[in-house]
Each structure stands twice: as structure tokens, then as C-alpha cells.
Point group: C2
Chain length 344, copies 2
């Protein structure tokens, strides 16, 4: 009725859960994502490693591996017939896990600046890599932190699911922003940035090239977006230097969220343009951070509308004014300097 696809993946019911009953990272349990346990995972498709270390061995900073319990079959060819009244077919696609640190840390704020920078670069590399497959239309990068956010393992990781069908939410954003572009001649996100930099009441933080805002009419308390200040539809078109700057801002925003909300469960989601689209004048990539301070209940599921008990203006003020620790890692210029040293 609504055109929404559902991935039925019974194989994922058997995946390990290290929260709750099974124990939450207790000593003695083996975390498959920790350095030294590479044999417990699938074989890496990409990694950032120290020189002269071997694939699937120690010495990595960030590691990209196929999900052991993928939501989609890795085999994309021949989907078969789509059925009659009930449309269905064998769902192929890519489901990567990006392990963000060799150490057993959980939150973005616990990553080193270099690790976070490597993570953001791995997103780019994998998206560029997936562009080479004409059967995939969209690469969805996302991260769940904490059991309340649906994470099944606590060791810091994010995921990338590449799909042969355009996600309905991305389609809605593309159509909505195109409509706005046609009537106004302007990217609606560029307009949002201009409005919010002027009014400053939804502004959280910024660097030279990136900005963080609590967007107008956000669905969730303390929902925060990071966007490039100059128009760009594809995240993966940014260079390493820009992503290093983005890493600093992301780290700083996550530090603000952790301090104001007491290290909440959260998701972040990268909304970039479709893999094979040319640069789009109407769409502007953004990273949405969604702290899980409240559950989603019957009204939201039924209506598609949301009740937000914290206005974005209140949230932005709290995030903007919270005292950050004196920490050179949170400073763009110093961090860029350190990172330049680390890569020489």
C-alpha cells in the first residue's frame, strides 16, 4: 500500500548479543572486534593499518569486514521473479561492518582523532568502491551506540548497507528537495544553513567548512545535523583534509551530547546522494545524530508525525553552551597538525 520494502532476514535472529543476558563486555568474554581476535570475524575488505602489518592480522586502526549476519545476500545476480500480488524477491546487497578501533571502546568520544578520521575516510572509500557496481543504487552508512539504540555489540563500530532499491526516506528527501529547488531556485539545505547561521538559535558548533545545527522541527530531542557549509551532494567527494576537519567537529559535537545528556544511546546516519547520481544542485549531504532519550510510541508509529518534548532551539542552546574539557583533540588547528604528524 505504501511502497515500503521490508527485508525479511531470519538469519539475523541468531546473531550474538553482548548486551543484557549474555553479558556486557565482561572480562573473559571474547569480543570479536578487539585486536588479536581477527580470526573470529569475516575477512577484511578494507583496513587502515600500520606499515608492514598483514591483512586480517594485528596492527590496524580501522577495519571494514562483511557482516557475519548480513541483512542482504552478498550474491546480487539473478534476483528471480518478483511474485504476483505480493511482490518479493531474493534481496541482494552489501552489508559491511566498520570496526572503529582495535581497543574495546564504545563511543565516538573514546576514539582517537586519528581513528575517527580513518573511520570517516573508510566510509568514503567504501562508497567510492560501491559506485563501481551498477546494480547497487544506494549506500547507507549508519551507527548504533548502546543497547537502547539497537546495537548488538558494544565495541565501537558502524555499518554500511548498500541496496539495489532506493530507500524510501532518501527518495522522499530527493523529491522534496527537488520540489523546493524548482520553486525557489535554491538548495533547501543551503537555505537552512543561511537561516540558522543568521538567527544562531539552532546553531551548535562550526568549523571553517562544516556546521552543526539542531534542525528546525526535529523529530527527536537533541537531534543534530552536521553539514558542509559549501553545497555538496555527495559525502564521498570530500578529500582527506576536509574529512579530518569533519572528524574534529563530529568529535566535538559528540562530546557536547555526551556531556549534556550523560552519554546517551544514539544513532548517526549519513544521508548522502545516491551512488550513481551526478552532483545534485538540490540535495545536500548531512550526517544526522539522533540521541535516544525517548522511545518512539504508538502516536508516532500510527501518524508518522512526532512529538518532541525539547525544542531544537533549547537543545542547541544547551549543546552550544556546555563547557568542553580543555583538550587539544577538540581543537581543529591543533588536531589537524597532530594528524599531519601522524601520517608523515
Amino acid at each position: 500500500v505504501t511502497g515500503r520494502w521490508v527485508i525479511v532476514a531470519p538469519n539475523r535472529a541468531g546473531r550474538p548479543q553482548d548486551f543484557g543476558a549474555v553479558g556486557s563486555g565482561e572480562p573473559g568474554e571474547v569480543c570479536p572486534f578487539c585486536e588479536g581476535n581477527e580470526g573470529e570475524t569475516t575477512s577484511e575488505v578494507l583496513a587502515r593499518r600500520e606499515p608492514s602489518t598483514s591483512r586480517n592480522g594485528r596492527g590496524w586502526r580501522v577495519r571494514v569486514i562483511p557482516n557475519k549476519y548480513p541483512a542482504l545476500h552478498p550474491d546480487l545476480h539473478d534476483p528471480g521473479p518478483r511474485g504476483g500480488f505480493y511482490e518479493s524477491y531474493a534481496g541482494g546487497g552489501v552489508h559491511d561492518v566498520i570496526v572503529e578501533s582495535p581497543r574495546h571502546v564504545c563511543r565516538t568520544t573514546e576514539l582517537t582523532p586519528q581513528e575517527l578520521q580513518d573511520v570517516l575516510e573508510c566510509y568514503r572509500e567504501r562508497l567510492l568502491d560501491l559506485r563501481r557496481d551498477p546494480r547497487l543504487v544506494y549506500g547507507m552508512v549508519f551507527k548504533n551506540v548502546g543497547a537502547a539504540a539497537g546495537a548488538s555489540l558494544e565495541h565501537a563500530h558502524s555499518q554500511l548497507i548498500a541496496l539495489p532499491i532506493m530507500p524510501i526516506n532518501i527518495q522522499d528527501m530527493l523529491v522534496g528537495s527537488q520540489d523546493r529547488f524548482v520553486t525557489s531556485g535554491q538548495c533547501v539545505y543551503c537555505r537552512i544553513l543561511a537561516e540558522d547561521r543568521t538567527a544562531a538559535d539552532r546553531l551548535v558548533d562550526e568549523t571553517d567548512r562544516f556546521i552543526a545545527i539542531c534542525p528546525f522541527a526535529s523529530r527527536f530531542p537533541f537531534e543534530t545535523w552536521l553539514l558542509p557549509r559549501a553545497h555538496a551532494s555527495h559525502y564521498e567527494d570530500h578529500g582527506a583534509e576536509e574529512l579530518a576537519e569533519l572528524a574534529v567537529l563530529l568529535r566535538r559535537v559528540m562530546e557536547r551530547i555526551d556531556r549534556v545528556l550523560g552519554a546517551p544511546a544514539y544513532h548517526y546516519i549519513l544521508h548522502t546522494a545516491p551512488l550513481h547520481d551526478p552532483p545534485l544542485p538540490h540535495f545536500h549531504w548531512h550526517l544526522s545524530i539522533m540521541p535516544r532519550t525517548t522511545g518512539v510510541a504508538g502516536f508516532e508509529w500510527g501518524s508518522g508525525f512526532y512529538i518532541n518534548v525539547v525544542s531544537p532551539e533549547t537543545a542547541a542552546e544547551k549543546l552550544r553552551t556546555v563547557r568542553l574539557p580543555a583538550d587539544s583533540q577538540l581543537d581543529v588547528s591543533r588536531s589537524a597538525h597532530k594528524s599531519a604528524q601522524a601520517t608523515t
Copy 2:
């Protein structure tokens, strides 16, 4: 960008939470929904009561009261200007709480047959009442059970939020089912019922006039729909006898869910046609029950697609074949008989 409205309601941040830190219905704490505590609530707008008991006093079975922390202002007149680039206005509407029993019970399966029947009749009465207000376009009835489902009080209750703007999910269902009707000449839900009664692999339970299925490509494990077997777009057009039969089926389906999933948190949502629409040939009302066995995570929020680890066919088989207790309350004919006695 997507046309979604968000209700910003800071007043709701202060509402009581009887789960978790504040204590979960512990003796000594006053539950505002228990009989005898009517003075703790707003004044009732509707109730099912024993003869010669007084409004806002004891002696009720089901009580409808305005939400003390409403998501929308009860004052609907003069919404004011909608703003410029950022569209907003003062959101008016109705936010009722339906207290389902004078006893401190939590789950639908703990209600007496008469209480559940009264609840379903109160939904109808309130929807019919709200039809008289031309400024309201939709009445959304829903229920949250358990902290994981976003309930803030455990005493059995449901809610009705009536809105001056059509909910985006309802709009999507109306447009999608209309499209299907135009191309096929048939209500898509009637077709679903016909398909599922024939194949029987998604069938959970049925009575003479109602059916329960785990719908094809459901978003959530064990999601279950109750629908009238004969086409009907408006829930509130059903008579008392039919609602008594629906109450029996709902009770029986909830008993199946409680037994298979171990009394999970859940929502149910009544998807009925808009308040002022005439009977619609393409839309078919349905009650969606959504057990909260898994959280919704980054992929779902980002894509709008869902990963369901239990196929609806597997879920339906488990629900259909679970052993129900020998209980005359779960039997339609006996319950209808008892209810006829109770109302004489």
C-alpha cells in the same frame, strides 16, 4: 523537505513516569488512574459507569479524560500565522486518555471482557463525537504497554489524539490504496484478506466477522492486524454487537502474543478513515498490533526500510498454534452471551 509535521510540546517533558527511577506501581505510590483517585485526574468527558454513580466519582468501568500533559492545545481557534521559510503554528487538537479499568492492571489480557468491550465502544463514541468538529480531520487511537513501548504510566490506558492536519502515514495509506483501487477495481485490504484466508499461512485467528493476520512484509516481528472481514472504512460505524465480537478476538490475539512472546511491551494502533470522509471503497480500517521485541535502529531510521528477523509466516504459525488456556472469556459465543447478561 519531506512534508512531515512535528509537534513541539515541552510541557510533556514534565509528565510523571512511573517506570524506572520513580518506581513501578509500588505500594504506597498513588496511581492517578485507579478507582478512588479520580480527583488526581482531569474531569471525565465520557465514562461507562454503574447506574446511579456520579461523574468523576467511583463506580466506573472505563473512563475517558483529557490528557493532563496534552501534546496539543485543547483550544483550536485562531492558529495564527504559519511563518515564512520555517512553517509553524500553534497546534490545537484533542488529546484524550482512555483509562481501561478501575483496577491497577496493565495488559489487555488482564481486562475483563466487559471492560475491553467498553474500551472499544468508547473509541467509537469519541470518534463519532469528534466528527462534529469540522476543524479536526483525523482521530488517532493508540495504546502503549510497557516502558519499552513508551508508556509513562503502567495502569492500562489508551489514547486518542485528534489532529487538524492529516497524518502523513494515513495520507500515504489513503493514496496507496486509492491507486490500487483505480488499477484493480478492488480494495487492496479485501484482496489481502482473500489471499491470506486461502493460503492460511499468515492467518492467526478469526471470528465470524473479524480476522487476525500477520501481514505480508510486516515491519516488525509478530506484527498482527485485526480487520473486519466485510469491507468497512470507518471503525466507528460498527455497532455494539460487532465490537463485542472484536473484543473477543482482540483478547484472544493478545493472549496468543503474551504466551508466545512472554508478555512483551507492545503498541496497538487503530487505522481508521478520516473523520469527515464518507465510506471509502478503497480503504479498510485495521487495528495494528506491534510487539516491541526489537528496537528500531539506524538502518530503519535512515532508509525507511525495515529488517524483520521473523517472517510473518513463522510468526503467524506460532501465534496460531499456541495453546490457549481453557477460558470461556476467549470464546465468542459464550462471551457474547455473558456480555448480553451483563448489559441487561
